[in-house]
């Protein structure tokens, strides 16, 4: 029952009590209650629980505004402006004209942050989506096919997890190429391992339950059981993992670009802006401060949203 409904009912009680004070009015009020209260849908329930997590809601708001600026801004601004060199205005501290200052070759840091943010955010979201897709597929197949296939897939997952992430990321980026698309795909295809483990564990524990037995008893083919009955039940942990994956992918892209091994100039990403900043820490620390702060804020928000979703999606929570 929401607060508003409660208030309405009590108002009705008070009003009706004043009118006549007869018990049948009370009965009418509770009848109204039965009529007005439609069952809550799944999404409403999740939204109501998510809303309780104030930090998560605030983070979602901040992220929404940032994404709005990064994706809508470029419609009105041209990328040439972000790459515009102004040699008379090199390494200027933040001012009214350049709120984030200018970099070593006179480019406006705010514009570059917007265009860089667009790419960083896009890489983060797309890479997380790729990772979740592969992870769900691998985890689903492994969990539903015990024996050899499960064993092979899980050993492979373990092996990939044993190779420190940045090592294989750099080698692959170096070998395959350093375009934005390639970097996105490489980060995505290297981030499915934890998701596949989560999905596999969930499926193993769900497989023995009665609803799966019932589905099998009425002759549902195994693939349909996996797709229609098992995988939908793993959505909660997968959504949380996907959210946290966005933050991780953004940091990984930034690490690559910071090392000069990611997206190549003049394209700005938050990481590549930091790469340039290293050489000007003495004279122009603001070149380093802003892109890093933006990464920090984004990842912080993503993590809070992930925490909020974890609580909101928990099927065992009571309210």
């Amino acid at each position: 029952m929401t607060k508003r409904q409660k208030a309405q009912i009590s108002k009705q009680f008070v009003a009706s009590g004043k009118d006549s004070g007869e018990p049948q009015v009370v009965a009418r009020a509770s009848q109204d209650l039965l009529v007005t209260r439609t069952p809550e849908s799944m999404l409403q329930l999740i939204w109501r629980r998510f809303r309780r997590h104030r930090l998560a809601v605030a983070s979602a708001l901040v992220l929404f505004v940032m994404a709005g600026i990064c994706f809508i801004g470029p419609i009105f601004l041209s990328e040439d402006a972000a790459n515009w060199l102004e040699f008379t205005a090199m390494r200027q501290p933040p001012s009214r004209e350049h709120p984030f200052g200018t970099d070593d070759i006179g480019r406006d840091m705010l514009l570059r942050s917007i265009f860089g943010g667009r790419i960083s955010l896009r890489i983060g979201v797309l890479a997380a989506m790729i990772g979740v897709t592969i992870g769900t597929a691998v985890g689903g197949i492994a969990g539903y096919n015990p024996g050899l296939l499960d064993n092979i897939l899980m050993r492979f997952t373990e092996a990939l997890l044993s190779i420190p992430r940045l090592f294989i990321l750099i080698v692959l980026a170096r070998v395959v190429g350093q375009s934005i698309t390639v970097i996105t795909v490489v980060i995505g295809t290297l981030s499915w391992m934890s998701v596949s483990r989560i999905v596999r564990a969930e499926i193993l524990s769900l497989k023995g339950q009665d609803f799966v037995l019932a589905a099998r008893a009425i002759g549902t083919p195994p693939r349909a059981i996996l797709v229609h009955h098992l995988l939908p039940n793993t959505v909660a942990p997968v959504v949380v993992a996907a959210t946290l994956g966005v933050g991780r992918a953004i940091i990984q892209e930034a690490s690559l670009s910071f090392l000069g091994l990611g997206v190549q100039p003049p394209t700005a990403t938050w990481g590549s802006m930091l790469f340039r900043a290293q050489s000007y820490l003495v004279d122009a620390p603001w070149i380093a401060i802003f892109p890093g702060l933006l990464i920090l804020i984004t990842v912080l928000c993503v993590n809070f949203i992930g925490d909020g979703l974890r609580d909101a999606l928990d099927p065992y929570a009571l309210k």
Binding site: P164, I170, A254, L259, Q278, L281, P291, I295, L296, L300
Partner: protein, 321 residues
Amino acid sequence: MTAYLVRRLIQVVPLLLIISLIGFVIIQATGDPLAAFTMDASLTSDDIARLRHKYGLDKPVPIQYLNWFKNMLAGDWGTSYHTREKVVDMVFERFPNTLVLVVISYILTLSSATMLGTISAVRQYSILDHVVTGLSFIGIATPSFWLGLMLIVIFSVRFKEAGLPYLPVGGMYDHRVGSSVPQVLWHVILPAFTLSSVMTARYIRYIRSAMLEQIHLDYVRTARSKGLPERTVLLRHAFKNVLLSVITLVGLDLPFLLSGTIVIESMFAWPGMGRLFWSSAERTDIPPLMALLLFAAILTVLSTFVVDILYAAVDPRIRYQ
């Protein structure tokens, strides 16, 4: 215990085989190693064929894999395209430096996270707890290299400007003074702090929640009610149980830390494996790249193995059949 040890060891072998296979596939994907020679006009196609035969590149791919694997085991990791140095020497020359950095980072993380996490749990919902928890949230979201840049700005640039003693920003020791233990310790402060920051933030949260779980259990109440001083209750009883799960974390975090060394070592010019990896990547120098990748993977597998054994040895409740 011996049976468990042997069984775990048997599990490690296929894992290493798969890792080596992944490594080999990547090497194959890097293209023809003789590509540079085919451009050379002074070499006839006969010469190329002879070279191909000499390096075993005319053999079927599975045989090439077996040969490559045999060489890796024998310590023949190839020579750098760039410096013509033997890769195995390059790696082991840098390994101790990375070891120093990683070990000091672990010490920093464990000591500070233990202290802050425990205090934060004991004084739950105090101002200190809120500050520590808030900082650890921020710490987890901070890209370590950016934190490093900010620390350089504050402790090196600004401190120097203010005439205070400032921290060095690169290398392992001052070349005018020479290498010595105090010099290395002085130079390791910034990189180690940067490298361990994210891990510390995570450990604080972990230790705090693990500790909170423990201090509400019956055995802690028993310890208190029999009149033990609070210090003993927390450190000797509750913390012992927290420590067990921290041990596993330490092992599992090695790949994370090794990844971190690439960024931090290149940033602070720390002459370790991570910096070697970075400079090799910049020059697309494949042999050291692959050797370091496999070496890091093997270190990770071994650390997981050691942690499993340690865990079984330390916790009397765990008995593996």
